[in-house]
Each structure stands twice: as structure tokens, then as C-alpha cells.
Amino acid sequence: MHGVSPEQFAVQVAIFLGPYYIALALMNSVMAFYLWKKPEQHAICRFKLGSVPLAVTSAWVWLVVASLYVLLAAATVGAGNGGNLSLIPQFPHWFCEFVNQSTGPVIYTLGTTAVLVVLYFFRAFFVKPLVAWTIWNLMFLFLGLSMPDSDFYAIVAKPDNVPIVAMVFLLAFFNWVATAQSVVNDRRKEEGLPPVEKENDEKILVWPDLVYTEMVCMIALTAVLILWAILLQAPLEEPASSVNTPNPSKAPWYFLGLQEMLVYYDPWMAGVVLPTFIIVGLMAIPYIDFNKSGSGYYTIKERKFAYLIFQLGFLELWVTLIVLGTLLRGPNWNFFGPYEFWDAHKVQALNNVNVSEYFWQWLLGMSLPRAPVGSGQGVAVGYILAREWLGILLVLGYFIALPPIMAVTVLRGFYKRMGFVRYMTLAMLILFMASLPLKMVLRWTFNLKYIVAIPEYFLNF
């Protein structure tokens, strides 16, 4: 809010929120209209007004919601017009404070995991249109009520970040589409019916049907890009300077997941090894995947393993980390609550300890083995190995001992059906993928810095 007084900010925010709430009201009105027009309607309750029988259907509910949005819009515009920030509908101060206080990387990561788990197990409930629509509405409402907070606004309304916010909504929508169809298909499977896609299996022509559709998509996309360019102009920042780098320095949004890994891993690991494995892993999927079912239709039950691994990798380890990196990582890469001012002077205590230090200093009460001054390279390496033996052992154990153990226990079926090479590839990929959440947990629980720390050769793990 630098250089902008609260009054000016109120005007600014109301200019956005007024139309926003109106749009939401329209969205719900359209929904109500759609439901009202729908042939079969379930009445929530019925009563008689005089002699006229009335049935309260869900269309009514959404009409009420729409009118609530209209009220919100009116309140916002009225307050904004008077330059009165505090009268714009918003979350109460204590709520914002509570959210700020209670969030952090741990809560955020574990929270999203928990949410995803809940969503997975109760997917049949969540994909119900009514429920999904309610969640959809709540998401919008959350955004709207958060906007009058200048700090939240500063982050979310930054032209760079707008696509990320849009991405959250888009992802929610597409996930819902896919999951909803999978749920339907899985149920039909149980009832012995073919998937929906099989049922409407009519053939259409590439020309004109597909090409026509593609052209329409192209036009719509171009129009969106033009409008985007007009409405949200790319910010021109100051000339780059080697003595004065931006704080926070952020990668392009699609790399922010990678940047988040840097918190936990050494650059060579987070910036080179893990991205390589991501690409290699994605390329390897067709060769690893032996599950023939689920082709051409949405299903979860028939491809549970693939589904879970994908959702873990994409939603959990990629998207949520992007959101984290974009919206919640501020100056000095510190974590900031959504309603917290990005104060460059905030300092967080970051004292992390290596496995070797745990072993030598804490457990044995000795100082770390250090090569005597003037000793040769071989001796030095020997000392390093002596210092780090436990970490090296753990890492080697993780990558060498775990695959065979898994092959005989949890992944026995896989090993049988895939053969050695394919199984080992899969195991390696999964282990590398799992190394990130594992490291995160270790960091949070033990302040663990590196399992193997050899800064002498820039080799940390």
C-alpha cells in the first residue's frame, strides 16, 4: 500500500470487487435458471402459500445466493465510493490474524495433503454437483472477502500472480470434471455397465467436426490472450542490477515448485538431478505402465496406483508448491501468511544440523573428524568419508536396499509382472519422488540439513 492512502486503496479494491460480486451473482443466477428449467426437480421442502402449493427447489437456493452477492456488491461499491475501507465486506481482523499465525510451510504442506486425502476418499460426495458448486462458490467468496486486506491484495492482484490464482480455479474445475466422470464410470463398472464414454461411442469426422472445434478453441484462446494483454499489462521493472537483486528473487511461476525444492536440497540435487528425473520419469511412463484398463474413459478404481502417483506428483509436489512459492513466499524466501505484510526485515530462525553433526557431536560428544592441516587429498577424503559414514550408509541403504525389500513386500505384484529392469526403473523413480517429501518431513521434525554433507566437493544430499 506504499504511496496509496487507505481511501485510495478502498476505491481501487471496490473497482475490482463490485463487478466481481456482480459476476458471481450472475453466475449463480444462471445456475438457478438452469436448475429451474431442468425437467426433473427435487424439492427440498414443500409448503402452501395460501392455496398455492410451492416447492422450494435448489434453484431457489442459488437465487438467494445470487441476491446475497448482489448485496455484497452493493455494500462494496457503497463503501468504496466513500473511500471507507473498513466498511467493505471482508474477513474480520482476528480471522486474518489467526490464519497468519497458524500457517507455515508445515501446516500448508500437511494441510494440502490432508485435504487431498479427504477429497480422494470422499470423492463420491465432493463431486456431487451441488457440493462442488457450493465449494466453487466458497472459493470465490474467500477470494472476495480476502481482497480488502491490502497485503492479500498486493500479492494476489499483482499482474504476475493473477494467472496462478486463475490456475487454482481452473484446476479445481478440471479435477472436478475428471473425478466426477471417474466416479460415474466406477459406479457403472460395479453395476456391470460400460463406461459413459463407451455408451455414447458415436464416430465423428476430423473434418469438419474436429478441425472446426479446434478453430473455435483457437479463436477463443486468441481473444482471451488479447483481452489479458489489454487488461493486465506486463509490469516493467527496474533495470537489472548485480548489486541490487529483487527481494524475493523468484523464478517464472511454472518453476516455482523447483525453487521450493531448493529450500530442502542442494542446488545440484534440486536443480539438476530431480528435474532430470521428472523428465525421464514422464518419458518412461508408457514403458512402465502395464495396466491396460482405463483407456479411453475416466476411471480411478481401475488405475489406483497410476492415479495416486500422478496426483501426488502433480497436485501435491508441483501445483501446491507453485502456489506456495508464488503467493506465500516473500522477501528472503520467508514464509508469509496470506494476510501478512511482506516485510523485508522479517527474520526467521533457520538453524539446521547435518546427520554427521548429530552423530558425532550429539551422540558421541566428539568433534567432527577433521583432516590434519597439510594432509594429502587422499587422507582428506578418508576423513570426509569417516565423518559422513552414517549419512552415506543411509542414502545407499535407501536406494540400494529399499527396492529389493519393496519387491518382496508391498510391490511384489509389480515386480512379478514387470520384470527386473522395469521394476527397478519404477522403484528408482518412486524413491526419488519420495525423497522430497521425506526430506521435508525430516527438516521439519529434526531440523535436518543434509544427510550427507560434503561441502568440500559441493556434494550435499
Binding site: H2, Y212, E237, E238, P239, S242
Partner: protein, 1579 residues
Amino acid sequence: MHVVFGVSSLIMLISTVWMLEKDHNREWRRWQMKDRGKERWQHASRLAETSAQSHAALKGLKRQLAEASSSRIDHALIQQVKDFVQAEDARLAGQGAPPKSAEASLATIEKELADLEPLADEAAAAREAVTAAKKSAHDAVNTKLAAQKDPAQRDALPKLTQDSKSRLHELQQKVQQRDKAEQNAGRGRKQLLAAMNKIIGEAKRREDAFTVQKKFVAADHTARVSEHGIAVGEGLPAEQIDKIQVEIDSLAQKMTDLDDQVGNAKDYRVRVETVRREIEKGTTEIEKELAAVQAELNRIADNRDKNSWNVGEWLARRPILNALYDGNIRIEQTWLPDIKINYNFSEVPRYDRCITCHRSIDKTAPGSPVEPAFPALKDKQRQRVVELATPSKEPEIAVSDEGVVQVPTLESVYGLTIAGSGQIDHYAVTVQYVTAKSLAAAAGLQLGDIIREINGGRVYSNDDVEQYLLDNAHWGESLKLTIRRGLGSPYTSHPRLDLYVGSMSPHKKNDMGCTICHDGQGSATDFKWASHTPDNPKEADEWSKKHGWFDNHHWIFPMTPDRFIESNCLKCHHEVAELEPSERFPEPPAPKLVKGYHLIRQYGCFGCHDVNGYDGPTKRIGPDMRLEPNYHEVAAAVLRDNGLTDDERESAATLVHSPEVNSIRHELYQAIRRDAELAEAGNADGQPRLSAASHKLADLLKDVETPGRLRKAGPSLRYIASKVQYPWLYSWIRKPSDFRSSTRMPQFFGLHEHLEKHIKAFPDGQGNPAGLTELEYTRRFERIEILALARFLLNNSSKFDYLNPPAEVTTEPSPERGKWLFESRGCLACHSHREFPGIASTQGPNLSEVSAKFDSESGRRWLYSWIKQPHRYHPRTVMPDLYLNPIVETDPTGQPTGVVTDPVADLVAYLMGVPSDWKPHDVPAETLTADEKLALKDLAAEWLSASFPRKRAERYANEGIPAAQAANIKGDERMLVDLNDENRVAKQLDYVARRSISRYGCFGCHDVPGQEAAKPIGTALTEWGRKEPSKLAFENITKFLSTHGVDDVTEQLDEQAVNEHAGEDHASGAHAGNGHHGVDPLDYDDDTGYYLQALNGHHRQGFIWQKLRQPRSYDYQKTRNKRYDERLRMPLFPLDIEEREAVITFVLGLVNEAPAEKFVYLPDIRQEAIMQGRHVLHKYNCGGCHVLDMERWQFGIEPDWFEEPPIKPEFPFLHSEPSGEEIAKSLELDHRGLLNVTLHGMPVMSEETGQPNLVDEDGVPIEPDDDESEPFYEFTLYRNTVVAGYERKVGVQNLLIPAAHAGGGPKNGREFPANGGDLARYLFPRVIAQEHKTNPQAKGSEAWGWLPPPLIGEGKKVRTEWLHGFLMDPTAIRPAVVLRMPNFHMSSDEASALVNYFAAKDNADWPYEYSERRRDAYLTQLDQAHPEWMDNAMKILTDSNYCTKCHAVGDFFPKGAIKTQGPQLANVYQRLRPTYMRNWTASPSHILPYTGMPVNIPFDPNAPHLGGVNQALFPGTSVDQLDGLVDLLMNYDDYTARQTTIKSMVKESSPAEGGEQAAEAPEPRPDQSASDLPAPALR
């Protein structure tokens, strides 16, 4: 799907169109179109004005033309034509050629001539009839109007109406008749002329025919001549050749004939043509005038059309078409390849596109090269109220020439025209033009003024104006018009076109662009992206609403706000002195910046903050403000060493006073180094004599690469114990402004606004058993610190030998005498004192209260010594030695009365006698109480904990540092070794004091013993103007301001105030809400609001503002987690709001961004000398006494105001004739119709008050209560000036100049004040009063001669070598002067700088000047030509009527009052330049108008010998006499030397002794020996 396709395509189409629209209609287009509209409006208005002005002229001219072309034709002229025709006919007949008769034409002419006469008469009669009819119609109409208003005449009304109607009708008929008659007559004239043209045409035809014939014959002739030549060459027979010759001859004859014919025909034609021209003469001249008027109108109309709408441009401006041609709307830019902008990784040329919108930025007013066409006025100045008088009675209705009734209009009544539309805002009611000398012009209305209200009523349309001014006006009562004048940005011109942008300015638009001075994003063409910066929060608010402005953090060079615009001058003007007002730019170019510079110099900010102007030894990057190397302090410290040899001691003593003498410094350095080497080498080569401390100091004597130049701002503390006592010193350190509110010493202690009363310094029980609050904790320590500092300074002071009054003094000191001495001997030039309210200089301290400071015997003695010889106490002081030697009193006859007074003692008596009620208060005893001892221990522990762990620090503070540790300890901690019960307190105090001095950096301003090697403690400011705001610690400042308020807290010691502030919880803090936003800038005035906004936005402007206001406030809520020595230590300087801003302006200009060398200000050698001189002038405050530049009055005046000056005979060499160009320039009228005059000099001052005399038109002084008379000033010129066509010379006549009604200065102009001379002006009435006590007849006008002289023309006056010597060691010159030039002990370099300054300023030669008059060749020649030249001159010199009447010459001293005496003449040859001496003697008042010196050798071209003195004294003309006198004075030494003989004094040496030497002695050259001169007359 088709619907989807349709919809998406539609969206695509709309978005594409939208994109095109957005891309095309960018902001600058709108501005540019509006600016074109403004230009069009301007031209249209000027067109309307010009055509209205020329309307009458056009009409008159047309009438004249009609009259002229219908007038009679003189018969005699026609007769002439007839005669010509007949003569020609006769001539042709004589040649046998049948005359082509002009009969027909002649007949027509005669007929028309006859017809014309009655017609012309008729026309004339018709004209008269019109005049009569017009008068009667006018009367009739007005009678009717009168009747309409008069109820009594109602009955007669119908008849009157009828009457007026018929009269008007009649008039119209008469006009028609007149026009018809004129047409008829005109037709007749035309036919007559046509006939005449026929005659001319015929003559021309004949002329042409002959010419053609001649051409053919000539061609034949040439051909034959060539044929003849070929024939001769081929050797053809003679007869053939002859034959050709015959042909040639005949052709030649033909040519001659034809020539004759052509000539005749031409003569004839020309004669007739002359007659025709004579007939047409009346009309052609009128036609020419008409064409000229029309051409001017067409020119303006063309300009208007250029900015008007037209189809072609409109089409070209459409998108896409626009790519082919821009339709005159385009982005304009200045490309600056050499003025680069730093983009961190590369330096990029600037493209300044500012002029795209600011199109009129370089437009000047018509007729002026520097005055802006569209002045940029501040918002407050734009809004104004004017009073418009109405006619005393209702205006009459006029009837036009054409018989049309003209109702009074705004134009006819007020001379006011309202435009159809506004300039920028279409609907604004705008003045189109104002007729000269009308009521509107008298009210001061101007073209472009927007009328907003009339008598409080809002004006919405042009009709409203008519309503108010005509229909509803009360005639005779004036109306109040609220108007808005001028245009807003970007339509205005640059306000200083003389300095910037303009083609005549040093910063031309195309060379400099805009952003090098203004900063901002030059490439941008949108308001918000150009990084405009508002000057206050209201403006910011307005901008963000109007233009979508926002504070763009991403552009690192935001535009400099208006208040700091001068900062950027420093990029190129590193010396600052060149930014002071000068001859060329009398309007100060950068007053705020210069003020800031001088404040920083005065307050000595550079003592702590390095401002380095060099990057490497020669590369300049900005202003250089650094301390001089402290050689003198080192020398003073070395002097304390007892081991010094006598030579070394002398060297050191010299260095103390003259540290600039490098050779001595090198010697001393070498000597100490040698001794130090002895010490390093051990005992082998002998014992070192000097102490280790001295050895360490040696390195400080080394050469410094580009040394700083500034002296420390404060006095030396080396002998402080001899000056003041403990209680005063304690309270001074505690709070300097307590004793002297105007002091420059800042306050270090008691700055507690940031401390909270209710917050404990530490949690209870953790080192804070007493439960002290932060405030108590700090106070406890500060008390000890101050005490320790005071005791340290007193204990470490060296012994000072006081001076005692001289023995010859016979009287007791007298405060009365002292008071007059204080007033008149120059003290007030630098010091102020409450008993002398008329003058307040800030160079030295205010001395009102010194009696309280020196309230002891030692203090009194110190004061005596200080006044007598200031440099004895502090070698680097700028306080001069005033030569206050004992005064031998004399009676009126000049005989000593036996009374000898001591002026110094008198001054001391006076200063100490002025009572002061100031007393030191709350000063703790010098010996400590138990509590204080405890606090002292705690404080010592606090300091120690910076180097030792806390627990050990506590122990060391109490028990001392064990001797075993001593070897490892460096720095001040060594003081604490060997602590025992006796010395504990003393040592702890010593330690604490040393730490405090280091911490607060006392040595930045003072010479503190033992701190010679200390380095400045503050942040370097060299690049502060670009300091990264993220590197500034804003800490909790917004919270502080929101809880403590934004008022200036000056009374820091007032416990009550601090506590109240701390306890309050302002409402403003609560409404901020978000924690990081404290106060709302909009709640404060513009200035405070600006800085608060800057603080909120974390800009450095806000940081430094708060740092200067409340330096410790950044420690708010921070001290609890800091050690005591980590706290902020910036002291509080007593700056007021404006001074603070001036300092900020300067500091923000320190950016280290010097552009390419060619842009950095590189003065030529004269300007350089002037700049360097200014530094010295400022340093020693020369302007305190002397006028350095006279006042400059610049004003406009009626062209006929000044009369022709009287002509006085003057010596030929004094005569000057202004050039024609100068005269023409002095007669030019500006757009106001006034002459522009610039005069240098000063108004005549009143002898009683010292204020400029106001006189009436006849020169009689105006009484103060006289409001009736028009006031005038008499102005004394100090520079010859061409005014109104004549040169006005100095000393001839004072000019009478109309005074401005409000305040001083001239009417229609302004005065630029004199530079310096405050004391002279202050003393002027006082010395007259003093003189009148003893000599009531004394002439007040000569009193200027008793005061420090104005240094005008000093460079041309004195010889450089003499001035240099004089400045180093001044001697008394003029006995009449009441005070003497003091001795500043300046260095030779400084004296040279001053000498060069004066010479450069007057364009005189320096460093050497050549004067022929003293050369032997000249003298030899003179003696040969005029053997008695010098002796005769001596007769004039010694004649009691002339020079010796007033001047001493050699051992002769004139009698008479001292006030009438002039300087000694025997040594003027050393002082004055010969030309000056000649001009001065010839006419003294031409040089100094006030001088009492008369013209001794008058010049009169008509008198015998051209005037001059008695021939008996000096035979010759007055010019010769003058020359003789000058020659004598210039060679006075030589002349007198010849009067004595040395030969007789030298005893003849015996050959045995001197033979050898005599042989070796060179032969005396003939010209060296006076005896060998060939002039026996000299004996």
C-alpha cells in the same frame, strides 16, 4: 457449435478492435491535440485582436482610398501630357515617320477630365452630407433613448422614434449616394488613366520595336566584323576587305540611329509615366499600407490554420493510415547520445520524449528571447481577483458610419472580448483580448484569463458576463472578477528560459534534454509511466485520480519533485559557487541548493560525513567537502613533546599557524621519522628524543592526495580550561542552545523523544535492580558522560599565556567607549548582539550573553587575549586580528591630550558589562556522589562490554584490567589498567570521556587534544542521493510518528513533554489499521505531508527529513535490545524548516553521476578565478563590511520618462560613445510598451535612518505619513549605462525612479539586492550622527568615505601584487575611515584567490600588470622631451590648494579634521594601476559618486590650455598636467630617490680593502644611476 463459433468470433473481433483502439489512442495524443487546440486558440485570439485593432485602420484606409480615387486631377498634369504628346508627334514628324497619333487617347483624357470635375465635387459634397446626416442620426437616436428612460417624455416618444428612424434612413441613403458618386468619379478617373496607359503602351511598343530592330542589326554587325577578321587572316584581296568594311560601317551607323530612336521613345514613355504616377500617388500609398495590414492578418491566420482541423490530417490520423503519414501528431523526442543513463550493466543514450506533451516548453513571449510565452504559475498565483471599474454613467449608443445603430458591447464599453470557447476547457469563459487603454486593461485583465465569478456570482457562459457587466451593472461602481490566469502543465513554457531549454540559455533543449535535470522516465509518453513526482500529498491524490498516477517503485530515477529540483544542478556544478547570482543571471539560479551548501559548511556536517568530490586524484564526481588535513593539530600535539630540538620546535610552531607551508611540514616529518627509526632500531644507534605518541603522529604529516579544503567548524578545545569554567562547560555540552539559542553546535544529549517512560530498560532483576525505565536509565548515563567530557576537556587543556594590557594605557576601561568600538570597529559585521538590533550577521556567534560565559577572572583575561589576538588561541579561526592598538586621544587640533585608551579593554568592559540572566543550572558537582560513582562504573562496564564478555566487563570496570592483560589491550581501554581506590574514579571518567568523544565524534568540529588521528565517524554522503532505500534503517519510525505526533520537538529536556508524548496513544495510530502505515500525509500541510508520504513510501527524502528533525527517533522501541554504545548518536542541529529542506536538497544532489566531461561545468580562467574567490569571500565574510556587487534594479518605464542628460566637458580618454546598437536596444519597447532598464548602483540613503530616501517628483523628501504623493527614489549609478538612448554616466546625476507602492524597489520591476555591505549600510547613519557630535558641519554625503569602501572596480583599481600583500598584512590607507581592514591571517593561496577574483571580475590583467609609465624607456623619453615635467608636477602636488590640502605626502601631513583627509600619496605607485589613477584624478566622482575628492585639474575644451591649473605651476594643457601628475605619482620613489645622494654617505674605501671587490663589481649601467640621467633639471 455454430453459436459458439459466432460468439467467440465476435469476442475476437471486439477484442481486436479494442486492442487497436488502446494501442492507437495513447495518452500523449490527447495532450498533443489539446495543445494544438491551445495554439489555434492563441492564434485565433491574436488574429481577432489584430483585426480589431486594424479594423479601424483598414476602414480608414479604405475610406481614404475611396476619397483619393474619386478626387479631382490637376489640369496642369494633363497639360503636361498633352505637351509631351505633341512634342513627340512633332519629333516623329520631323523624322518623316508618320506619327501614330495619340489623338484619340488625348481626346478621351480631356473628356474624362472635364467629366471628372463635377463628379468629384459631387462625391465631396456627398461625403459632407453623410457627416451631417450621421451627426443628426446620432443625436436623434440618443434623444430617443433618453426619452425612453424619461417618463415625462413618453408622449413625445413615437414622434422621436419616427424621427430617429427617418434620420437613420436618411443617413443610409446619403451613404449610398456618396458611394455612388464616388464610384462614378472613380470610374472617370480610371478611364482617364486607361487612356493615359494607352499612350504609354504605344510608346512602349515603339521602344520595343526599335530595340528588336537594333538587335538584328547588331547581330549582323558582329557577323561582318568576324568575317572581316577571317578575310584579313586568309589574306584576301584588299578590295574585298574594304567592301566588308563598308558594310560594317553602314551597320554601325544604323545601330547609332536605332539607339537614338530607342532613347527617344523611352524618354517619352518615362515622362508620361511620371505624370501618371503623380496622378496615382495618393492611391498607391494607401494601397501599400492596406496590403501591409492585410499581410500581417494573413500571417496570423496562416498560423491559426496550421493548427486547425483539416480533412487530410484527420484522415492521416486514423489507425493504420497513420503509419503512412502521422497527420502532424507525433512523438517528439530529443536524442542525447552523450548524456547517458545508467542501466547498471550499460550506459544508454537518453531519449527524452517529454516534449511530446510539453510542446510549448521552449516558447518565448513575442519579442523576448527569455520570457516564457506561457508562464507557469503556481496554483495559488493562478487564482486571483481583479477589480474592474465601470463607466461613470450608462454608455451611449453609437451610430456607425454605415448608419447602423451600435448597442454598447463589452468591447465598446470595457475593451473586453470574450472568446467563443476556452483554450483548454472548451466551456471556460475566456478573455479573447483586451483593448489597450480600456477599462479591462486598467483592471489588468489579459488574453486567456478565465472569468469564473463576477461579484461572487458564478459565470457559466459568455452571456453571463454580459448580464453582469452590461445589463445589471451599477454604473460607476467597480466589479470584482475572480479569474484564473495562465495554463496548467503541460501547456506552459519553462519558467527559466534564460537558464534552461531556451536557445539563448546555457542548457539548450537539444543539448541537454529534460531528464538529466528533472530525472524521470524520459522514454515514457504516459503521465504515470513518466514517473512524475508530486510535490505534496494533495497533488499526489489529485494526480492519481486524474491521471492514474502511482508511486512506481520500479523506476529508480523518479522525477525530482519541485522542492528538490535544484539538487540535480550538483551533477555538473561541483563548485556550487557558480550557482550564485551573477552578472548574467541576476535571478539566483539555485538559491535553495546554495543555501544548503552554506549551511553544511557552517554547521560542519563534513566533520563527520565524508563528502568526497573526487574519484581518484583528478576525476571530479561531485562537490568536494572534506576537512583539511589536520597538520596544524598534529603540530600542536607534537609541540607538547619536550624532546624537540629548537629547530623542530620552530617548525612545529610555524605549522600550527601556517599548515600550508609544505617544505616545513616535510622537514618536520623527516625529523620525527628519523627519530622513530632510532626507536625501532633499538638502542644501537642512540636514544630517541621524542615520545612514542609523537612518532605515531608523524604519519599524519604525510602528503595527502587531493587534500580537503575545509576547516573544522568549531573552535579549538586545546586550551579550553583557560577560557571557561566547569559549570558553563557542563551545561553547554548538555544543551548548547540553552545558553545561546542561535548556536550551530548541535545537541547530543537529552534527545529522549524516542524513549518510553513506562518501559523498563531491562527486565527487572537482569542488571536492572532499581527497576529503571529507559528514560531514567539513559539520563543516568548521559549525566555521567557530560560530566566526564567536561572534566576531560578541562584536565587535558594546555596552558595558555594570556595577553596583558600594554603599559602605555593611561585610563580605565570604559563600557561606553567599548560600545561604540563594538559597533564601529567591525564586530557587527560577523557577530550579532541584542543591543544592536539593526544588524544580525550569523558568521560569528551572538555575543549578547558572553558575560555569563566568561564570568570569572580567567574568562575575562581570555576574552581580552582573544579579541586582541584571536590566532594566538586558535590558529585556524576566521576571526581576524582587528589591530586594536592603544589609541592616543587627540584634541581637535590634532595634538595628543595625553590620554591613551586601550580599545580591547574597552570592548571587554562593554561585553562583560551587558548583564545576562543566564546561569548554569542542574550542574552536578565535579566530585561524584556514591550514586554517580555507581553509574560511572556501570557506564564503563557498558562501554567495555563492546570488547569483553559482559561479566568480565563488569569486573574490569570495577577492578580495572589486570596488568597481565595490559599488553594485549589497545585503545582507550588502556586507561583502565592499574585501577586502585585513589585513581578509580578519575580513570573511569577518563575512559568514559575518551569513549564518548570517539562515539560522538567531537573531533569532527573541534581540535580535541589526543584525537589528531581520529577519522570521521558518520556515513559518507558522497552518493547518498542514490542510496538504496532498502539500506536505510527506517525501523519503527511510522509507529513512532503515529504515537508521538509529527510536531517538531525542540524542548527535549522537558521531562513533562516527553512523558506526555510517551503516554499518549494517538487516534491517528489506530486508524492506520495495518500496522505498517502510520500517519496519513493528507492530514498535514503540504511540506510535512510530503515528507510523511516519503517516509511511508520508504523514500530517502523522508528518511533524511526525520533524521534531521529527530535524529534519535529511529531508535524508537529499539534501545532495549541494543547496547548503550550501539544507540544512534546523530545530534540535533537547530535547523528551521526551510534550512532543513535546503540541507536535504544539497544532500540529495550528491549522486556521483557526473555526465560526460563536456557537460560538466568547466569555467574559463576568469570564471574559475571568480568562483575560487567566492569561496574565500564567504569564508572570511568579506561581504559583511564591503559591498561586492551593487544593487541591480531592473524595471520598465515610460519611454519619455528620462530626460536628456546634461553634457559636461570631459577628458578625451574618459569620453565614451555608446554604439548605435546599444542605443537602439535601449530604445526598444517591450510588450507592455515600456522601456526596459537595468541599473547598477544604489538608492540615495537617508542620513538619519540609513533607509532609501523616498522623494516626490521634484526630489523633495516625502513625509512618512504622506500617502498622496507619488513616491520616487533617487538612484545613484555605479556603472555607466545606456538608458533611453543616452549614456548615463556615474557621478553626473542621480536618476529619479518611480517607487513600487508596496515595499522597496522600482515600479514595474524588481530590485536585486546588493551583495554584501551590511555593516557599511548599518553604520552610515551612525557615523554621521557620531561625527555631528564633534563637527555639526560634516557633510553626510561623504560619510560613505568613512566606511569600508565598496569593492566595485577593485580589479581595475589596484595592482595585484599590492593587493596580495595588503590582504596578507593590511596597512591603514585612509585616515578618515572609522575602522581598519583587519588581518585574517589568510594563506597566500587565499589572498591570491581574492586578488584573482577582483581582477577577473573587472576584466583586468592578472596575475601581472604591465605599466609603461614606470619603465625607464618611457621616463628617458619624457625627460628628453620635457625636462621639467616631473618638477612641475611636483609643484602641483605640493601646492597647498591641491593635493596636499587633504593628502599626506611623504613626511608632510595636512592639517584639518581627520575625516577630510585622504590617503598618503607617497606610496600610491605601489597600490594603484596608472590608468585608474589618471581616470580617478581626472574625475573622481565618475568612479565613486560619493567621494569628497574634488576635480583638481578641470577640463574645458573652450578654455585656453583646455582648462587646467595655473600655468605657473605646470605649463601645458590640462591633459599634460594630469599626465604629469600621474607620472610623478607613479614614479614617486624614483623621483625622491634622485633628490638624495648616497654617494656622499659612502666613505671611499681604501684600495687595499675594497680593490678586489670593486674590480668584480659590475659596471654600473647608465640608466641605473640617477646621476647619469641626462636631465640636470631634476637636481
